[in-house]
Symmetry: C2
Subunit: 241 residues, 2 copies
Amino acid sequence: MIYVVGTGPGNEQYMTQEALEAIEKCDIIVGYKTYIKLIKHLLVDKKIVENGMRQEKERCLEALELSSQGKKVALISGGDSGIYGMAGLILELNSKREVAEEVKIVQGVSSSISAASVLGAPLMHDFCQISLSDLMTPWSIIEKRIKLASDADFVICIYNPRSKGRSEHLKMAFEIMSQYKSLDTPVGIVKNAGRDNQEIYISNIRDMDYEICDMSTMVIVGNKKSYIDNGKIITPRGYNI
Amino acid sequence: MIYVVGTGPGNEQYMTQEALEAIEKCDIIVGYKTYIKLIKHLLVDKKIVENGMRQEKERCLEALELSSQGKKVALISGGDSGIYGMAGLILELNSKREVAEEVKIVQGVSSSISAASVLGAPLMHDFCQISLSDLMTPWSIIEKRIKLASDADFVICIYNPRSKGRSEHLKMAFEIMSQYKSLDTPVGIVKNAGRDNQEIYISNIRDMDYEICDMSTMVIVGNKKSYIDNGKIITPRGYNI
């Protein structure tokens, strides 16, 4: 039995009861070492199997193997496991097995929700999430999505905005957005949302600072009606007030 | 002091620790009666101020008034309060006050996350959320968003798909989507996600049954790569498996 557990920002305060209970009842915890570290205090007496970045497949195969031996396994994912997390890969690999293991996806708070909660209420209207990582998605598709999402006036949450190997993609994304969105459009930047080392920046498209963004950063760009008030980004739902 | 608390599906199992603690420390609970009812067992000894649909503004003004009298108030929202919830309206109204109240947005699990978790892993790649309610958003904007989101091959989460007064909008949305997405595209329909009376349907664009959808239903439409396996919808992230 495998529970795929999203730990939200990684602080138990933001985890669901279901996630905490799933970890409690498992013998073995499998996950990316950075996420494991954040919840280590919850894992006393558990067997821990951790590995590094880009070893997602190995992690899932290990979880499936342990489960087939009768173990209860918690496969740890940051944020919500169903959003750019481990839920998809474990189900894909499970479907290729001769005998499928039982897999339960445990709900968690996504990083866009964590970031939005400290920025104010930027996601109050239709929004989309786009990952700028072109490791597994061609950049042409990512560009097209940014263009059409901007034209549609969605609020846009940008995942994986900038890494050492991709220093220019975020700037390119902003150049596309600025063809459709006003340069005054509010932009919220949250590094390490919900963690002890959280940093919050409120800006706009014109004054965007790409340098402060890394892979632990969420960037949220408003729609035509978003505004900044008292240090918070608000996207009105449309109430007559 | 006002805590804006998203209760997720309304079952404490899916609420965050932070949400449960916020309710615990408040004297007064303000909310839409349907959401209050779902968590009534958590509200023993609390003063409850509840009202009906479309009374969102009155609810927020009441919460602000009570807070200005020195009360600790929990303003309840379904799902995550920052997604089509009460977070935006309370901040908007608060910004108009001479003396602003302290408002804290408490993270919750959104209905798209709850629905996705029981469907499999449909949100594993870029997705968007669109509400079909044209009460506060012109239908022309909603139509444009559906069209561009389909062209961009986003997974699409449809909020508020169908009400008594809007029986045809969902069908119209599917007609637009079918111009860009294959008729075989997986569609997941979840009524009352995460609640005792949850219902799950797995279908596709061709066989979509509009009649089963209501305002408590989440409809998730896949992208070009989404597929159905063993009763689950999987949208691959792109791993080589």
